[in-house]
Every structure is written in structure tokens, then in C-alpha cells.
Amino acid sequence: MKIDIHTHTKKCKSGDAPTREITPEIFCETILSTEVRIIAITNHNVFDLNQFEEIETRLGKDAQVWPGIELDILEGEARGHLLVIVSPKSARDFSAAVEKLTKGFTPDNFTARIDGILETFDAFNPLYVAHYKQKKPNLSDAMLEVLETKTQKPWCVIKEVTNSISAGIYISHGHSSIYGSDIHDWAKYEALSHDLPDLRLPVDSFEHFCLLLKKDTTTINTVLDRKTPEELVLHPFDDGSELSIKAFNDINVFFGPKGTGKTRILEAIAKHYSENGVEARVYVSASDNLDEIFDTKGKNLAINLNAYDINYCTDEVKALRGASEVSVTNLGKFSNYFRETNTSKNASKILLKDIDPEEGGSAKHEFTEFNLAVKTTADFIKFLTDNPSVKKELDDEELTDVTRILSELLTRLGKREWTSFSDWKEIVLLNSAIKTFRREIERKTGKPAKPTTTGFRDYAMNRIMIEVNAAKIVKSVDTAIPMRTELVGSLGLNKGDLQFLTEFKFQSGAVSDGALSSLTAVKKIPQKKFVNCVRHILEHAYADDLFQHISELNAIEDVENIKTVHELLLFKRYFALNGQPYSPSSGESSMVMLQKELGTDKEVYILDEPERSLGNEYISDVIVPLIKERARAGKKVFISTHDANIAVRTLPYSSVYRCHGPSGYKTYIGNPFTNNLVNRDNAAEQLDWKKTSMKTLEGGEEAFGERGKIYGTN
């Protein structure tokens, strides 16, 4: 949920861009297309009540719109802009007050003094948002001091700066700061809205927002308790002492000097959840584990070739390795038959022996086709009658019709199946009888019978099957397998996303990339020899030297371990940036491992100093948003940190501060919203959350101030 305290809907001053003009309809559409759910309309020296009310009606409960105005303030020579924003409940009175104040002026020539503003608007309990420093034209410190001194609610005076970094710096220095879009062109609002402030706590209304600004403890605790806090009773230390903390399904931060037991507390939290059946472990940054975590050596790498429509070729490999030559019929048998004319009277009566055998392959094929058609049709009829979806779609009459037609088809197919079977077997029987009679007559008469075959059929079919098997293997190993791409994490806005790539490649016979490893125990040289042999076999399927190549195949070292094409797979795994191999540095490894941890969906995240080896910019741009996103999803995030970016920018619901002094260890619990930390053993002893966190996390307020110089004080 984002807030925008500074928008324009009208071109009021002559210097205003025309692109500030927007209709209520488009305004509402634009706002609802963003994450902005609280928006203040602050036109220059004008408040349009009708427009406000139309927008309020159109937005309904989808978003809050607050009435406001951006006023020109003139004190002596000093000129500045001040936003005055009031409760929507006061919109009508506010409109009247604006009208009275600006009467006789145009937006271009209107100016007011701070006293006049207070006199007109302070009774509305407004929010004053003053242009500050680089936000021009800005109110001077003197003008602001007057405003803060004379208003009834000084906590409602906020300084408007130009961006989030400036706001962070001013907040760290004790100034209430915020920034708004000050939109000049509504066409750019959606993109621009991403940088607007997030509301860490839910804001129900304008009045609620003001109470939160006041850091009203009751209001804050009521809001915090919406997150269903849980009381954790832990025993993290060796002395068995008890530590009870309130854990939110949000961000819970532990900070304090080194050696104050923060890691022990995190371990105790992990133990607590694990014992209650919730997956929880302490994440500790260890950049050298990246290769192991991603299994770059592929120890557990597996692939299912069926998923890529690749045949494993188990039968084909086996058949090829076991292939042997088939004999042919000696032509001498034919010569002998014609040379020795059979003179036996009985033999001459057996005419069957003189019939030529018939070709049975076609008949067998026809039967196979009908057999398959019968089975498929029968299965389909069963599917139709059993399937609930079909029954939902077809009424009884339709289903009966479909079933009847298919049953008739099944009957006809069944008849054809039977006749084709009998035709096939008739040929088989005939050929068998011819062969048997010829053999018996040959045996009884001692005269050679006419050979039943030249041997061509069996010889050719053997070679054909060798070609078919070799072709299937080659087809499989010539199939390209798409690269597997896994997003590891972002290396920051400049570098982009680090990916982890897994390339699978079959040894095609010509692959010689040294970076590729064999996926199985079969070594690379036998793989290469095997594929080359299969290619030679395919090329020489009808050559006289075919079986030399098959012998070479069987002579390959460890060939018995190659049972499928899976054993011919090679792989390489590597990290890549923009598609190019990339070796992440130790810091970058830490970055992506932390992202991976936060990217894993679970209920409890426990991070021990996640900032280790990471740069401030990366923590702010990537890690803090990820942590916030987990918190928004209602997950419990426990973080031990020495980093102000994490402790401050995440605005944790719970902060546990551990320290050690002359009287031993102390534990303070609080949050940034009330800005205090309370000693759990002595409620009277309280610390300022902001000061303590800055002192502990950055080594003193001076160090925190230095950050302004690093970022630039714009």
C-alpha cells in the first residue's frame, strides 16, 4: 500500500503543465492501476470541491482521497510552498475556508503568511507538508519553526523532500520527512508510482494517520496486534534462563553488539518451530556453498528423455549389439533339385510339394492392423460408457446412439480381424506344409527337394532391422535438448539476473568440448566411439563389411555399460549473466544465496546477519524489498543484523535489542513506530529506538550522517 501526499489534478497557475489536468474518471482509473491507496489532491492555491467529491464517490472504498491544497507562502522576501491536507470529513468546510482565503486572488498572484495559514486551517487539525531543502520553492527553517511552534499538533508538520533517499537521511536526523509525486504528467504516473512511499502500517483514515505520526502507543499497538503476534518462550542460553519475545508474522529484528547471543536466540527460535512441526532453519551466509547448492558438478543431475520425446532405444541398442549375419540358401540346392529328378511314383502324386510357398508378410500385417483397430475401438467404447465427463456432456439417448454406432463398427472390425487372421494362418499353414512335405519326400526318397527359399527374405530383413535400429539410435542422439535455465537471483539493477544453466548434449560422435562431462559412469571416449560405430553401421547397413562395424561396436571398452542412449549424454552446468558464462564473486554468491533463501516459500525465515559480504545498495534495492514482500505475505521473518539498511528500512514490527553491561546481559523489546525499546526485566528502563539502532548498527550518529554524503544530499 503506497501513499501519495502531493498530486495535482488541474492546471491552476500559468506555469503548470497542461498534462496536470485530469478528469475524475481517468484519475480514479490511474490510481487504481497502481499500488497507491491513499492520495491527497493538492492543486496550486485552489480546491475544487465538486471534483473532489466526484473522485471520492468513484473511488469508494478502493482508495482514500484526502482534500488539500498547495499554497504559496511569502514571509518577507522568503517564498515557499506548503501543502495543507485535511480530513475528507472536513472537505466542505475546508473548501469554504480556501475560498475565503483566496478570494480576490488568482492562483498566480495568491500568497499567504504562516500566521494566516494557521488562522485559517489549524482548526481543521491538518497535515502540513512543507517543501524542504532541495524541494523548491522551499520553506525556510525559520518559517518552519513558526509553523511547528504555533500549530496545535506539531507532529503533523512534515517535510517534503525529493526522493526516498533524502527522506531516509532526514528521518535518520530526526526530521519527519516524506515525498510525493507532485505529478506533472499523468501519463507517467503508473511508472512513477513505484517509487512512492510504502505504508508499513495499515492506515484506516486521515485521523488514524495523524495518530500514527504522533507515535501514539495505543494506536500503534492496536495496529501491530492485527498481525496476530505469538509469544515465544525460549531458552537460548546455557544457563537455562528464559527469554520470552513477541513474534509477529512480519519482520522481527534482533540487533546489538557482537557476542550478545543473537545467533543463539535465532537457533532457539528455529528449534521452537521445528519442534512444533514448522520447517525452520537458521540461514547463515556462506558464499563458498553456491557450487554445492546448485550442484554444478551434476552429482544429482537427472533427466527424463521421454519428456523430450526422445526414445531411450533400450531394445535397439541391445539388438544392434547382438546382431549377427543370416545365412543364405546355397544355389547348389537348386542345382541338385533339378539334377536329381524324382522318379518315385508316390512322390509324384504328392502335388503339394510342387506348390510355391506364398508370401505371408502382407497378410500378417493386415491382421495386425485390424487387431489394433478392434482393441482401440473396444477401449474407446468402454471409455465412453465409464467416463463421467462424457456422461455429463451427452444425454442418455446421444450416448446410446454413439455407443450403438461404435458397437456396430466393432462387430465389423471383429469379423475382418478374424478373416485376416485366418488368411494369414492359412498361408503359414500352407508354407509349413510345403516345407514339411518337401523335407519328408527328400528324406524318404533320398532325392533333394526344391528349396523353399533363396534366403533373401531373412537376409534382407536382418539387415533392414539393423538399419532401423541404428537409425533410431542416431535419431535420438541427434535430438537437441533445450537448455535448462534457472533464475539464481538478481545481481543488482546494473548487472541483471544471474542464471544457472544446464546444457544437455548427446555425444554425436563429433563433440569434443572439454567442459562437457558424461552424465553417467560411461566415459567420454567410449561414448564417442559408440556413436561413431552406430553411424558407420547405419551407413553400411547394406554393405559387405557391415559386421566388421558391429564387431568394432562390441569391442568398445565398457560397451556393456551402454544400454540406452541415456548413457551417451553429456552435460555442463554453469552460472551465466546475459547468456554468457559468469563466475559470481564471493559477494555475489552471498547475494543470490540470500535471494534463494527468501525465494523459497515457507512460513518462517530465520536470517543470521544476511548483510554479510553484501553492499548497501544491494541490500536496499533487492534484499529489503524481498524481506518486506515476505512480511506482506504474512510470513514470520526473524533477522539478526548489524546493518541499518535492514533494521531501519524494513521497519520491523518487533525489534529485540541485546546488549551487555556491568550488570550482565539485557534485552530490550520495542519497535520503530513507538520509537522506544523497553527492558523486558524493568519496564521503566527505556531506550530511544532510533538512536539505539543508529548507534549500534552504524557505530554512532556521525557515521549515519556520513551516509548522506555518500548518497548525495539531494
Binding site: F334, S335, E359, K450, T454, Y459, Y542, A543, D544
Partner: protein, 95 residues
């Protein structure tokens, strides 16, 4: 169906069936049992089957033993060629 002619040839007293495919002739020895030469001839026939359907016909069928043998042998071979071609069709190996 294309018809390919064959003849019975005698060279140095050895008889052969010579099949004239248009390219390299295919020779099948009849006088001696030479299985490797028969296999080599079969390899060429298989390759020829891939190019198109055909039948081998003995140009002149004489009454001598080798003509009878060749005639019978080719009749059987033609039947088997047809069967093999049908099988090759199933595997998509013929044009």
C-alpha cells in the same frame, strides 16, 4: 512395375545369373557355393528395392540345367523381393 532382365552367363566354365539393373550388374554364382558373393548380390538388390518396385525376368529360359535353376531361383527371389519391399514400406524405407 519395372522389369529388370537377367541372363545366365558362363565364364571359364562357371555359371552365373547376371541381373542387369542399369547400373552395376549383379552377379549370382550358380556353379559354386559362394555365400559371400550371394550376400553381396543380395545387398545390392536390397539397395535397388529402395529405389523402386521391380521384377527380375530371365531373358531366355532354356532347357539346360542352369537355365532351369536360374528360372526357379529368380521366381522365388521375386516373391521374396516383393515381401521384403512390403516390409520396408512399413518402416518407411522405400521411396
Amino acid at each position: 512395375m519395372e522389369q529388370i532382365n537377367a541372363t545366365v552367363e558362363c565364364l571359364d566354365g562357371k555359371y552365373f545369373i547376371k541381373i542387369k539393373t542399369g547400373g552395376e550388374d549383379i552377379s549370382i554364382p550358380m556353379s559354386d557355393d559362394k555365400p559371400n558373393e550371394v550376400k553381396s548380390a543380395f545387398n545390392k538388390i536390397i539397395t535397388r528395392i529402395k529405389a523402386g518396385e521391380f521384377e527380375i525376368k530371365l531373358e531366355v529360359v532354356g532347357e539346360d540345367l542352369f537355365s532351369l535353376v536360374a528360372n526357379e531361383y529368380l521366381a522365388q527371389l521375386n516373391r521374396e523381393i516383393q515381401e521384403v519391399r512390403n516390409e520396408m514400406k512399413q518402416y518407411g524405407l522405400v521411396k
